[in-house]
Subunit: 202 residues, 2 copies
């Protein structure tokens, strides 16, 4: 849809909105027209919240999670288990794992996975800083929580090798049946892993 | 997903984004994290364009289309046919019809359709101002371009009655086969209309 909106301002807003991932021009127009029907305070609150978020949020110097301070609230929380570090690909994974309430330790956000095809090598992601943390902070367990993909496995293996000189326990997330999914619809690879890694019935 | 983002600013931006229609919290988080990865100028351009659009766009005093001035560019365009007015439900319909390049006249945006079930009566939409325009501007043809729904038909009929005292030709959009659709998949009502309103083969 390449159409004139009879308003440069609407055109501009639609243009900016449609730069967002998954938002095409049709959706962008729908969102813009929605805002035009609402109180001006609503557009202002939205616009200002985006600008303020981007201007003030930066990254934690320790774990590389997003943070409004040099040290993020998780790294700064003294009640958490400071000897266990969960390694994740990105910021969203921290949010996802936090929502499970099953990890009481700290995080380390790599900011990507090793992917030779995409030109991403070990030095492009936060592996060296992880190694330094394990050494300097006397980390006792590193939980590898990367996606079960070729890139995730490659990165897991690289980190495993890099940390092998330290007295640290290295674990990874279990791979097995998804809760609530029928056995018959589970892929063979996952099913195979879940047999290999079977656990005591309790 | 009711999770903590470890950042009030991210939380706020996600909250504002998810007020938009069709944007849930998951999508809102994805959009916010996208902006966090991009240059701050990008979030600023988006935020400011939304605020400026909402603050500066208002409605044309004549046709009620969105406009940055009292008179919109269409109403102000002297090359257009000022004796033909196309009546539409909303602003988006103007954009849609303009994209066809088949209407050279002006518009009148009702801002809704008569819908007793939703408590929308004739006085809640811009019908009186349409009647005034037909009288004062010596309109020669009113094209009813409302959706072929109960509400659209009700509104069409109401407008038709209101305009019956004026020497104005009243037309409505043709109803018939959709271009490119198989005859066999056209619903019976539409097919019936397309037989009743058959046109000379040329």
């Amino acid at each position: 849809m390449e159409s004139h909106f009879n308003s440069q301002l609407l055109e501009k807003a639609v243009g900016e909105l449609s730069k967002l991932p998954g938002i095409g021009r049709k959706t962008a127009l729908r969102l813009a027209l929605h805002l035009l029907r609402k109180d001006p305070a609503e557009a202002r609150a939205l616009g200002e919240s985006l600008i303020e978020m981007r201007d003030k949020i930066s990254y934690c110097h320790t774990c590389h999670n997003i943070s409004e301070e040099e040290t993020c609230p998780i790294c700064g929380d003294t009640r958490r288990d400071r000897k266990t570090v969960c390694v994740v690909e990105n910021v969203k994974d921290v949010i996802t794992i936090e929502a499970t309430h099953q990890h009481q330790g700290l995080y380390h956000v790599l900011g990507g996975l090793i992917s030779p095809l995409d030109g991403v090598g070990p030095s492009d992601i936060e592996i060296e800083s992880l190694v330094n943390r394990v050494r300097d902070e006397k980390i006792e367990e590193v939980i590898l929580a990367l996606s079960p993909t070729i890139e995730g496995d490659t990165t897991n293996f690289y980190i495993f090798r890099k940390l092998s000189e330290f007295p640290v326990k290295i674990t990874m997330l279990a791979r097995g049946l998804s809760m609530g999914n029928e056995l018959e619809y589970t892929d063979e690879l996952t099913l195979g892993k879940s047999i290999q890694n079977r656990i005591p019935f309790s």
